[in-house]
Structures are given as structure tokens and as C-alpha cells.
């Protein structure tokens, strides 16, 4: 699991690559928290295009990122969701809480 980001005019783009499971999620949540604290974005794009696998651990990662952005009075949009990850997010009904593009 790899995380990269770029920040421009307080728009943060976080790109995830690899497999997002419970093993990876533990460190990833901390990295995303820290990245948001440092860059104080008003909008974050969470780009899942590079994920080759995601399970329910990813749901908690997305929800936590959403709450952090709300605390910063900003917005979160999840983009480039691969098919398998999208099935997981849809089954959880996450579209009701988070912008999935």
C-alpha cells in the first residue's frame, strides 16, 4: 500500500496504490490525518484509481477522511473507484454519506 499526495491552493489530492486491507489501513489512517493537518485543505480528492484490492477496512478509511474534512469545514470527494472497491462501497451504502465519483 502506497500513499502519495499533492496540495495546490488548498486542494489536496491523495492517491492510493496497492491493496487496502486492515493491515494497510492502520498506518494509512494516520498518514491521511497528518497530511490533512499539514495542508489544511478546503477540498480533498481521494483517488482510488491505483487500488488493486479493497475490503471493509477501506470504508472506515473513507469515513474517517470525510469526518476530518468536515472538522476543517471542507469537503471530500472519492474519485476513480475501481470496480471491486466500488462493489464494497456500494454494498455498504456509502454513497449516502460521501461523494463517490
Amino acid at each position: 500500500m502506497e500513499m502519495n499526495y499533492k496540495s495546490e491552493n488548498r486542494q489536496l489530492t491523495i492517491t492510493l496504490t496497492g491493496e487496502l486491507d486492515h493491515h494497510a489501513a492502520k498506518g494509512l489512517m494516520d498518514s491521511i490525518d497528518r497530511c490533512m493537518e499539514q495542508n489544511l485543505p478546503t477540498k480533498t480528492l481521494l483517488d482510488l484509481g491505483g487500488l488493486t484490492f479493497m475490503d471493509s477496512s477501506g470504508i472506515a478509511v473513507v469515513l474517517r477522511a470525510k469526518r476530518r474534512m468536515e472538522a476543517l469545514s471542507g469537503t471530500l470527494v472519492v474519485v476513480n473507484i475501481p470496480r471491486q472497491a466500488s462493489r464494497v462501497l456500494e454494498t455498504a451504502g456509502l454513497g449516502r454519506y460521501v461523494d463517490l465519483v
Binding site: 491493496e19 486491507d21 486492515h22 493491515h23 489501513a25 492502520k26 489512517m29 484490492f53 475490503d55 471493509s56 477496512s57 470504508i59 472506515a60 469515513l63 474517517r64 470496480r83 471491486q84 462493489r87 464494497v88 454494498t91 455498504a92
Partner: protein, 148 residues
């Protein structure tokens, strides 16, 4: 329902989270002989990952323990998986299977059983407090081979 088993594997490992990827990958490799589509393989990997993560996180919250996976191929292109632990057990299985029910805090969303149930054809959960849990799932694999 008793069905003839034509092939099986058994996988035993310690509840280190680093083994999550290994477990779903190994089961997917075994399932490949049923000639599944990529989507079917994705569903199987997801279901394995959910069951194994539950054993790691909930069954053995403060120690390492044994996890045993049996994957069987049954007549009619059916994959049967059982994931077993000897951990804490579940007090009320019916309640635990409800969407959003979780004892896991902010890092868990309470969707694991719901995902297993919707990604597989059948899910059975047997558990005893203090003794452990066994999750059994079945999925029929549609053959990809074109009809001649």
C-alpha cells in the same frame, strides 16, 4: 446439504495482520481452477479478507492465535470456504450479522458480514463464546468457457 468434494486445501496460519493478503491470495489461486471471471475472483478475495480480518481483529484482540481456512470444490462448480478461529466467540450471532453492528470502534464499520453475505451465495456462522467461531461460505462459479 451433503455434496461431493472433488478437491480441497487447508491453510493454517497465525493471526498476524500481514497474513491477510496471503490468505485471500492463496484462496484465489486455488479457486482459479474453477475458471472464474475477474469479478468472481474479486468477490471471493473480498469475502476471505472479511472473515480473516474478523478473526484477527475480534477473535484474538490482544493475542495471536490460530486461524484455519478450508477451501473445498464441490460438485457443480461450487467453492466452499470455511474460516475458523479458537478465539473469543460471538455472544449473539444474529445481532452481529446485522449491517452496521460492530464492537470494533472507529476503525471498523460493521459491514463485514453484510459484504460476505452479498458477495457469496450462502453464509453460515457458528460461534460459541470463549470457544471460537466458524464462518462457512459458498459460491457457485459460472463457467467462463463459451458454449460451443
Amino acid at each position: 446439504m451433503k455434496m461431493k468434494c472433488t478437491n480441497y486445501i487447508t491453510l493454517e496460519f497465525l493471526s498476524h495482520s500481514a497474513n491477510e493478503g496471503f490468505a485471500r491470495g492463496a484462496v484465489a489461486c486455488f479457486a482459479a481452477q474453477l475458471d472464474p471471471t475477474l469479478e468472481e475472483l474479486g468477490d471471493i478475495k473480498t469475502a476471505v479478507s472479511e472473515a480473516v480480518t474478523n478473526a484477527i481483529v475480534h477473535a484474538y484482540p490482544d493475542r495471536l492465535g490460530k486461524i484455519l481456512i478450508k477451501a473445498r470444490i464441490l460438485e457443480g462448480n461450487i467453492l466452499e470456504l470455511s474460516v475458523r478461529d479458537w478465539g473469543r466467540g460471538i455472544a449473539d450471532v444474529e445481532k452481529a450479522r446485522q449491517p452496521l453492528f460492530s464492537t470494533g470502534g472507529e476503525e471498523r464499520s460493521g459491514m463485514g458480514f453484510t459484504i460476505m453475505e452479498s458477495f457469496m451465495d450462502r453464509l453460515a456462522v457458528r460461534s460459541q463464546e470463549g470457544k471460537g467461531t466458524r464462518v462457512t461460505m459458498r459460491r457457485r462459479i459460472q463457467s467462463r468457457r463459451p458454449v460451443q
